[in-house]
């Protein structure tokens, strides 16, 4: 199994720092991740954020490509529904050329209303547009000319003059913890990258993904899956839970609770639910806490399930490398 990690460029109020310093740290983090033996280094995307979150993951990866030579450069995730797909394909081909074919794309649909409004795009069509967008990226980075007839995007005999190195570029459908995303990814034959969720839910989703893929006639070997997994490692379980508390306070509570990331069983976005809301609690429980031995056991469950890659959080990168990663190398 591959291990991916990443870095953030934003102002964190519990860790005050000049914003530009976080950009320097990101570049150094990419260098360090390669030296430590990680297989991928990622950047994600948000817009109009109070903390000045980095909005253009491919631009961050263009920077990371300058200081690395082997590690894969991963969007985790890029909100493809906030781009014109052909314009996105040009950016993708650019970074793939700059990195010598090391680009991996995790592609998500987004959920924050202000991002769609600020970028003049409809939020309600995002699911279908993500699916079409991925298909267009696949065509644009593998064929000199192509035509596409979708509900939202239509192209006739078009193509990029700039060719990517990979044909096509490595593409992953990034999804929240709902089973609908799993089925959508499987039915289209996309590789599936699942957000933080407890193992039992992940297992259910992966089975649904594979079933949808088989039913649609995609070969078994093309149905790959990866997972995001925040791992809080301590010398004791209590210490690990303290680290989780810090991760929640310093980042997740504002980002997960405030912007509609959590979705109820009817598909409604939850804005600032109480902290004892079961759906928030399920998210909290998805941030796995344990000693290094417990974390190894947890990762092995994903390995046994067939995960191709696990994207792990950045806070305890060195602890992870020293105490967990050797069990998988």
């Amino acid at each position: 199994m591959e291990f991916w990690t990443g870095g953030g460029m934003a102002k964190n109020r519990l860790m005050p720092n000049a914003l530009a310093n976080t950009y320097d740290s990101y570049v150094r983090g990419a260098e360090q991740a390669e030296k430590l033996g990680f297989d991928g280094f990622s950047a994600s995307e948000h817009h109009f954020m109070y903390d000045a979150f980095q909005p253009f993951p491919l631009q961050a990866l263009a920077a990371a490509a300058a200081v690395t030579s082997k590690i894969r450069l991963v969007t985790g995730v890029m909100l493809l529904t906030l781009y014109d797909p052909l314009e996105a394909a040009e950016y993708v081909a650019t970074v793939d050329v700059l990195s010598g074919g090391r680009l991996t794309l995790g592609l998500g649909m987004g959920y924050r209303p202000m991002e769609f409004d600020g970028l003049s795009l409809a939020k309600k069509t995002r699911g279908a547009r993500l699916t079409e967008g991925i298909e267009i990226l696949r065509l644009a980075t593998s064929q000199e000319t192509f035509s596409y007839e979708g509900k939202h995007y239509r192209y006739k005999d078009t193509g990029l003059r700039l060719g990517s190195v990979q044909k096509p570029v490595d593409l992953w459908f990034g999804s929240g913890p709902s089973i609908h995303g799993a089925r959508r990814a499987g039915s289209r034959g996309f590789s599936y990258w699942l957000a933080n969720t407890p193992f039992e839910n992940a297992k259910t989703n992966v089975e649904a993904y594979r079933a949808a893929g088989r039913e649609a006639g995609w070969p078994e070997e093309s149905l790959r899956f990866a997972v995001f997994k925040d791992l809080c490692i301590g010398r004791t379980l209590a210490e690990a839970e303290e680290r989780r508390e810090y991760a929640l306070k310093s980042f997740y509570d504002e980002h997960i609770l405030g912007y509609g990331y959590l979705v109820d069983e009817n598909g409604n976005h939850l804005y600032n639910p109480s902290r004892d809301h079961p759906i928030y609690q399920r998210f909290v429980n998805s941030l796995f806490c344990g000693t290094a031995e417990m974390v190894i056991e947890e990762i092995k469950r994903y390995e046994d399930l067939g995960a191709e890659a696990m994207s792990v959080s950045t806070i305890q990168r060195e602890v992870f490398v020293n105490e967990v990663m050797p069990a998988f190398r």
Binding site: V27, Y50, P55, F56, Q59, A62, L119, R161, G163
Partner: protein, 307 residues
């Protein structure tokens, strides 16, 4: 006089080879003391660069001092928010070395008003916090009503402060484009290829740029008009930087588009151009590869110009 290098990348099919030659040249230029690099957006050839800001972000991590200028940047393919964001992010990665030069409206096939509104929006997005913009071509946020004032506006400072994470699903009428650039205002240039844009740029304090595809005599005339209109509008020449792009034949023949001659001849003709058009930045448009000329210009022409 600042001296920069310009790359058009409008021929050739091997992007990997062409871009790496340019990136190598940018690193050498950085070490030799060239002031800037201008990389044009293009889609004409396989080696053309459709996203110069990304390539220059890559270059930012390999250089220390050289200013980075995505050039011929189009406004018709990219949302204005993303234009503001990408230059701000380049500015962050390069610690204040970013700027942007926009292609003329004619080159993009858009009405000049669309280009002007977009530049207005981008500069407003960099300069302030929450904003709203209503124009004919740019609306931000997109649900901005018709009765909102034309141009940029800011929220009134009243009512209770509600942190963004408590907004819930409510669509705000004003939004901040983030991050802000490292420098408070990255240099912004526009090709003064049509009368409407020349006049608008002169009146609004936008730096003028004339490309290497315009004959030198015509370039001088355009700069003269620009300065006359700017003076009429009460603007100071210190607000902007006039940029002229030229091909240069070092120890070769010049023509109506290109400067040529010995190092001394070049220093003389560049000084004459500076006197005639008040340019403060000359961009040497070139194909990557002739390292000897790069060194010769830096050691023989540049010191004379700066003396």
């Amino acid at each position: 006089m600042r001296i920069g290098l310009g790359f058009e990348l409008d021929s050739g099919d091997d992007a990997h080879e062409a871009w790496h030659a340019v990136l190598g040249e940018i690193q050498r230029a950085d070490a030799l003391g060239y002031d800037s690099v201008w990389l044009e957006e293009g889609r004409e050839a396989g080696a053309s660069c459709p996203a110069p800001t990304l390539v220059l972000t890559h270059a930012a991590c390999k250089t220390k001092s050289i200013q980075l200028r995505p050039a011929a940047r189009r406004v018709d393919r990219t949302h204005p928010v993303r234009l503001a964001e990408e230059i701000a992010v380049l500015d962050m990665f390069s610690r204040g070395r970013a700027g942007v030069a926009f292609a003329s409206a004619h080159r993009q096939g858009v009405p000049p008003q669309q280009l002007h509104e977009t530049i207005d929006f981008v500069r407003a997005a960099w300069a302030g916090d929450a904003l709203r913009f209503r124009g004919e071509f740019v609306r931000f946020p997109s649900h901005t009503p018709d009765e909102a004032p034309v141009g940029v506006s800011h929220p009134a400072a009243e009512g209770e402060l509600v942190p963004q994470w408590d907004w819930g699903g409510v669509m705000p009428d004003f939004l901040a484009v983030t991050p802000k650039p490292y420098a408070s205002r990255p240099p912004t240039y526009v090709e003064i290829a049509d009368d409407a844009t020349l006049e608008w740029a002169a009146r609004h304090g936008i730096s003028p740029l004339v490309t290497a595809k315009v004959p030198t005599a015509e370039a001088v005339e355009r700069f003269s008009r620009y300065w006359r209109i700017a003076a009429e509008a009460g603007r100071s020449s210190a607000e902007v930087e006039a940029v002229l792009a030229r091909r240069i034949a070092l120890d070769g023949e010049g023509n109506e588009y290109a400067l040529g001659g010995s190092a001394t001849d070049l220093a003389t003709s560049i000084s004459a151009l500076r006197a005639a058009s008040a340019i403060s930045h000359l961009v040497w448009v070139r194909d990557a590869g002739d390292e000897g000329q790069l060194l010769q210009f830096a050691s023989e022409v540049q010191p004379v110009l700066q003396a």
